[in-house]
Symmetry: C2
Subunit: 349 residues, 2 copies
DNA sequence: TCCCTCTGAGAAAACCTTTTCCCAAATCGC
DNA sequence: GCGATTTGGGAAAAGGTTTTCTCAGAGGGA
């Protein structure tokens, strides 16, 4: 009974002091034994370690943080309510940090300045080692100023402050991927339907679209800019394919600014009796799997690799926290084309 | 120059000791002044407060936590990668806690037991005050055992351990809302298409569906159970509306188990030339706005009030952390019907 | 004037860990 | 056998705050 070895669910966590007492040494020695510091006989070290193990000792992270002036904690600020973009990103961040023992505070601040301020202050009070700012769209600022915070800040998939470090997807590169894929499939008249002209990414992708077509000597159809919605995709098909029954001059491929637009395009094409992918190929953007896979046919789409982006942002923050300086600026990470069925098969394939 | 009042971005945070020194009192007095404790002249208290303000003093939360044995931090565990369910829930949790100064660690553990274990231990080491467990579907367990944790655990929208406290949506009530709405609209033949029969919620909703119809003396069409997908909704229409051209005996309303199924149903009805909502009304479940609003016509849907559910869970955890005992058990929170256009208008309305 | 009570404020312990310094004993060289 | 070095381990400070206890002085009553 006295040698009960089962790790009883202690009501209060066991401290280093108790381990030391139980092993018959001082707390200093116990600390050194567990951290591989100091000098002592192998026997002493082993005994202390065994005691700690038996008692289920886990160092109090709060005390460590207080001493080291590092909380092993970072804040992730987002305004993406449904988390469609920020959760994959967050997974990447978390993934990069968990091995370093760093946990992530997630704060969804919507677009509420007061709320954002409140959360930032709470995080500062808790002595987070750094902050990652992210959002639902690359072009929009978060409703709070993170510029002079005395802790490192990394921007990921959101509009950075000048002089800051930011990770974003290479939208132009992603667009090239899509359009070049259409070219390889032998498409000759490739159209582009995208979101509102107020977004910088819309223009970046549109320009890349034009560049590829010009390089290949294919006709450029002026991109149709509208909204990020299915309804707009639907409407755009009306403009592209017109009232004329003949398919002379009509596109044989449509590259869309996001998956919802693509979905609207596909639905509208079906309503007109135009087959996807046989008559017209379609590629979306975002690779929002739950939508892309449910589309009929399953939608090919450009994936922004948000998890990888999050991982990079996490590692960069870690390095900054570790004291390594880093160049300010915007780092673009490559996209990746996920081919499903909506874009068509290679000719003769 | 010496009276520079601008709150300079100090490189290192100002401590209570500095405030005390600057105000010419001891740290004990300073602490008491700022916390409204102890006895001192109003003048002294005001002077200390003013000094703290001027210096931009913010108490180090780590030191406070160490002393109070409370970190003002909770962990939120989820396995919902895209966060469709957990982010609205998380917003509610966060909302309930932010005013109490409590921050939330979000850990997405996918379905990886090792990862889950790792995160839970990290949170325990950081002395979180409690944990909220949530998931993407109410029926599934998280891949980690939270039963004997010596800190309070609340389950929200996920399968709880026996003897635990859980908050879930009232699925039967939500189903009643939908079916009764159809009844009020004068629908006579109401069908139900839902997800896999492996889910308890599927049966709860199906039973509520039957109950309402029986109460009203309307015919019960045996619910069609399949998958949570558009494809299944599409397929189910084939079964419900058969090959027979006549609409004798065919449903005039379909209540769907989620919005994706509903979407599939609507698409399939359109393909058959059946009008929504004029010929057949459709109601979905989840009220996933980004889908429901993009559907043509916009989809009426049962909303599970996830943010409210998160808020309740947060408050319950707070109360538990505060030492107030609570009955174990499952609390069901009411759903709410969001009426858009897919269900139809009242007769003569 | 003396004793008692109140008032305002400070000293110190506590929370838990890490790290620097220090000391006694043991070992080594000669 | 004696001084110098190494070895094993402990005492104490530090990190920033809160809280309890203590204490000097002021004011009141007799």
């Amino acid at each position: 009974m006295s040698s009960d070895a089962s790790p009883a669910p202690a009501k209060t966590p066991v401290t280093l002091r108790e381990v030391a007492a139980s092993a018959g040494v001082s707390v200093a020695t116990a600390s050194k034994a567990l951290n591989g510091q100091g000098r002592m006989t192998a026997e002493t070290r082993a005994r202390i370690r065994e005691t700690a193990q038996r008692l289920g000792f886990r160092p109090n992270s709060l005390a460590q943080s207080l001493l080291r002036r590092r909380s092993f904690t970072v804040g992730l600020l987002t305004n993406d309510t449904y988390g469609r973009f920020s959760l994959p990103l967050m997974s990447g961040v978390s993934d990069a940090l968990v091995d370093a023992g760093v946990s992530v505070f997630l704060c969804n601040v919507e677009d509420d300045t007061r709320l954002a301020q409140l959360h930032v202050e709470a995080m500062l009070d808790k002595r987070v080692d750094g902050i990652i700012a992210t959002g639902k769209r690359i072009d929009r600022h978060l409703p709070v100023d993170l510029a002079n915070l005395r802790i490192p800040v990394i921007y990921a998939f959101t509009q950075p402050d000048p002089g800051a470090i930011a990770f974003v997807s290479d939208d132009a590169g992603g667009a090239r991927l899509a359009v070049e894929h259409f070219c390889r499939l032998g498409k000759k008249r490739i159209a582009h339907v995208s979101g509102p002209s107020g977004f910088a990414v819309v223009h970046a992708r549109a320009q890349a679209y034009r560049d590829v077509l010009i390089e290949r000597g294919l006709p450029v159809i002026e991109p149709l800019l509208g909204a990020w919605s299915e309804a707009w995709g639907h409407e755009a098909v009306g403009k592209l394919f017109g009232a004329k029954a003949g398919r002379e001059g009509a596109p044989d491929a449509v590259f869309c600014g996001n998956d919802q637009i693509a979905r609207g395009v596909i639905d509208a094409l079906r309503e007109r009796g135009i087959g996807v992918p046989d008559d017209v190929g379609v590629i979306g953007f975002d690779n929002w799997e739950i939508v892309a896979e449910a589309t009929r046919p399953p939608l090919s789409s450009v994936d922004m690799n948000l998890a990888a982006l999050g991982r990079e942002a996490g590692l960069a923050l870690l390095s900054l926290v570790g004291g390594k300086p880093a160049e300010p600026g915007i780092r673009k990470l490559p996209c990746r084309l996920v081919v499903r069925q909506s874009c068509g098969r290679p000719p003769g394939g």
